[in-house]
Amino acid sequence: MFVAFCIPLIWYAIYPSFGIVTSLFSPYLCTQIQTQIDMAKIYVNGDAQEVNLPLNVSELIQQQNVQQPEMVSVQVNEEFAEREDWESIQLKEGDKVDFLYFMGGGAL
């Protein structure tokens, strides 16, 4: 029974736009669990942050007000995330995201 009730929840996580429709059919209990699970703690440049899921790397970059996102290099859990994958990488609880910035000064 529990599994059946929580299927909308998984749907919600994967397809947020269908969330409203599916949640109409969700029992109250599952809605409760849903709100709990929707929050996640991730580490951005080493600092713990509470974020709402679902959240992909591109969305996180927007939220963090990264200046010149086209100039930043991103690591998720110590693996480089290719730019073309930023939209498809969904963040989850405990993920570590690091932004590496270009720094060019030195000689002049």
Partner: protein, 269 residues
């Protein structure tokens, strides 16, 4: 085996006293050949500390002359040196600190035509340059020649550095290619707190000395960044990228590239 003179024993006594360095470590330092690219904000403290430490040969590459606006942070150049080639000014100070050090000067830009020839003469390379085209050039040339190097960059109140040894993460593993000319400001456009250059340059000098003496752990596969506003230092683990265009399993770059430099940087040279 180097025969230490009385003066040398006295001069390097604080190194020799260190268990991790000792006479052997000091001898390795004195046999070392280091190339410093850029005699500016980073190259100044790097060269001064390496000279004081007794590095055998220091090569300096810089095509610039000393400008009044350099003196706020480029501590190897003095007011009297304005208008003098930076390599000459630096050589003079290095010799004044430590006459034992041999200095090679290259009063020219490092580019694809001379990089490999110059780099091959040295055991360790320090990147103290101010622009991305040369940072990528140094990275690629060092990877191709199998040379270790220290990367350094500063901007406003921030600094970043890492050390590359053959097989560990390189600059291209972290940043695939230079940003478009002018997209990321350099110090000449954005400004920099002078002492930041000293903070980062001395880290690079320490890494160089650690490399030759084999002390501790180098900043390999780690990018050290700091923000002097909060004085928070952080090392971000970075991994060698298999798909890296220069050090990956199937490298696509087989020659050195002269990337275009931002026009606003060029006019300052």
């Amino acid at each position: 085996m180097i025969e230490f003179t009385e003066d040398q024993i006295q001069r390097y006594s604080r190194h020799i006293l260190l268990q991790d360095v000792g006479v052997e470590g000091q001898e390795r330092i004195m046999n070392a050949r280091v190339l410093v690219v850029g005699a500016g904000g980073l190259g100044a403290p790097v060269s001064l500390y390496l000279a004081a430490a007794g590095i055998g040969t220091i090569g300096i590459v810089d095509a610039d002359v000393v400008d009044l606006s350099n003196l706020q942070r480029q501590v190897i150049h003095f007011t009297k040196d304005v208008g003098v080639p930076k390599v000459k000014s630096a050589e003079e100070k290095i010799k004044a600190i430590n006459p034992d050090v041999k200095v090679d000067t290259y009063y020219e830009f490092l580019d694809s035509s001379n990089a490999l020839d110059i780099i091959k003469e040295y055991d360790f390379i320090v990147d103290g340059t101010d622009n991305f085209p040369v940072k990528f050039l140094i990275n690629d040339a060092c990877v191709m020649a199998g040379k270790p190097f220290s990367h350094g960059g500063i901007l406003r109140f921030n600094g970043q550095t890492f050390t590359h040894l053959p097989g560990t993460a390189c600059y291209r593993c972290m940043f695939k290619e230079p940003p478009p000319a002018g997209a990321v400001p350099t110090c000449s456009q954005a400004g920099v707190l002078g002492a930041i250059a000293g903070m980062l340059g001395t880290i690079q000098a320490a890494e160089t000395l650690k490399y030759f003496t084999g002390i501790g752990e180098l900043l390999t596969n780690r990018l050290l960044t700091f923000d002097a506003k909060t004085m928070q230092f952080r090392t971000v683990p970075v991994r060698h990228r298999d798909s890296c265009a220069i050090c990956g399993t199937n490298p696509t770059i087989d020659h050195l590239i002269d990337y275009e430099q931002a026009a606003c940087d060029l006019k300052n040279h």
